[in-house]
Amino acid sequence: MNVKEKGFIITVDSFISTTLVLVFVLVSFYYLSNISLNAWNTVDVRTLAFDEGAVLEKSLALENSVRLVSSESLLSSLNSTPSGYCFEATVFDASMTNPIIHAIKTGCTKNSTKVVSIDRAFIVRDGATSSFYIARIDVWGGGE
């Protein structure tokens, strides 16, 4: 085998191997780019939303907001939520047609497309009668 033939073989060999390695690396990147951590994030945000709903009801913030027709108690609780997440609470009557009270965490604007929503029913008891309401808690990443 003369020098020219060897050079040709080496060139072909390096070309094929470089191409194959590049293809393999690109395929690896393709698979790695498909990995999503959304489920973990969504579960975290959903848990936060459920927790905040329970806190709002059990601290009587929801009940007081309806009694006083004021979002102050809701806002106070929403502003105590973890930083890095935005919270919004809207209180509806039992039929979910009329929003009665609304509060959004200070410094937050609702511009995310990944909003997790949960509902929590609560009761305002006035003497002998009970009135039923539903609070919708929206949570998304962002805020201060």
């Binding site: 194959l20 393999f24 489920a39 579960v43 979910m96 009668t129």
Partner: protein, 279 residues
């Protein structure tokens, strides 16, 4: 020598290709495992909604019944408080709540839920305090009672009572014994406090007499039930009560459950849960 260099070059090339293909293999496997764990995380988080829903309904039911229970197992104390009034229509409130759940609230939740309130609309709501005690709120006769399920559990009992009206007479019918009882009573015109060591093996009664009717406080043992504490309301005296009992260290009063069941059906699971207020 030159031919051996060429062979080594080929071997290097093949090693590089093998290494790169291993990279692809690992990337594919990692992506597969991630996808599986993502599905696992998403599906295992689904029952979270049922847990919070059950907590929500339990809290609501106690609100509808105007009944509050708090067990603090770090100091072995159970507190039961609320208001007894003959003007409350708890049965109607419970039926309205069941209708609200079925028509308004459950349709908003994922899956299919239903609740069985039959054991609560029969005139009496039972709250199970762990395996050691029970509280029964009989709203038809406006009475609340707390009692031990097996052997004697309570070491002291405090009763705070606030009533509307004017107390006409007080009849204390007790036997001296081992159970320490403190009673503080306040109404529109009268106040009294009473501290007694009474017998837990006999039934002791304290009658609050009004002009129109009587309210009876019963403490002790009755019909084989130990540590029985009961307050019965008389007509329209809106008796606000706080029953605080200290229980022995070997008693288990958690979780607190109300006598009602919720059924959740989704594509991944079917759950029948007793409604737990406190774990």
């Amino acid at each position: 020598m030159k031919s051996s260099k060429l062979t080594r070059g080929f071997l290097f090339t093949i090693s590089s290709i093998l290494f790169a293909s291993t990279l692809v293999f690992f990337a594919m496997n990692f992506a597969d495992v991630s996808a599986s764990s993502e599905y696992l995380v998403a599906s295992s988080a689904r029952p979270l909604g049922t847990i919070f829903l059950s907590d929500n309904v339990a809290f609501n039911l106690f609100k509808v019944l105007n009944l509050n229970v708090d067990v603090n197992d770090s100091i072995n104390q159970v507190v039961l408080f609320g208001t007894l009034s003959t003007s409350f229509n708890e049965q109607n409130n419970l039926l309205n709540y069941a209708s609200f759940l079925e028509n308004n609230y459950f349709p908003l939740t994922p899956g299919s839920e239903s609740i069985d309130l039959n054991s609560l609309v029969d005139g009496s709501a039972e709250v199970f305090l762990g395996s050691s005690a029970e509280a029964d709120y009989n709203y038809n006769s406006s009475s609340i009672s707390l009692f031990a399920l097996n052997s004697s559990q309570f070491t002291s009992i405090d009763l705070n009572i606030r009533a509307k009206g004017d107390l006409n007479f007080l009849d204390v019918n007790t036997t001296v014994g081992d159970l320490i009882v403190n009673i503080l009573y306040v109404d529109d015109s009268n106040t009294f406090s009473l501290t007694k060591s009474i017998s837990s093996s006999e039934l002791n009664t304290i009658t609050l007499g009004y002009l129109d009717s009587n309210s009876i406080i019963s403490i002790g043992k009755t019909n084989g039930v130990n540590d029985f504490v009961s307050i019965g309301a008389s007509s329209d005296h809106n008796i606000s009560y706080v029953i605080k009992a200290i229980y022995s260290t070997d008693s288990v009063l958690l979780p607190t459950r109300i006598n009602s069941k919720m059924v959740s059906i989704s594509k991944d699971y079917n759950v029948v849960s007793t409604l737990v207020l406190q774990k």
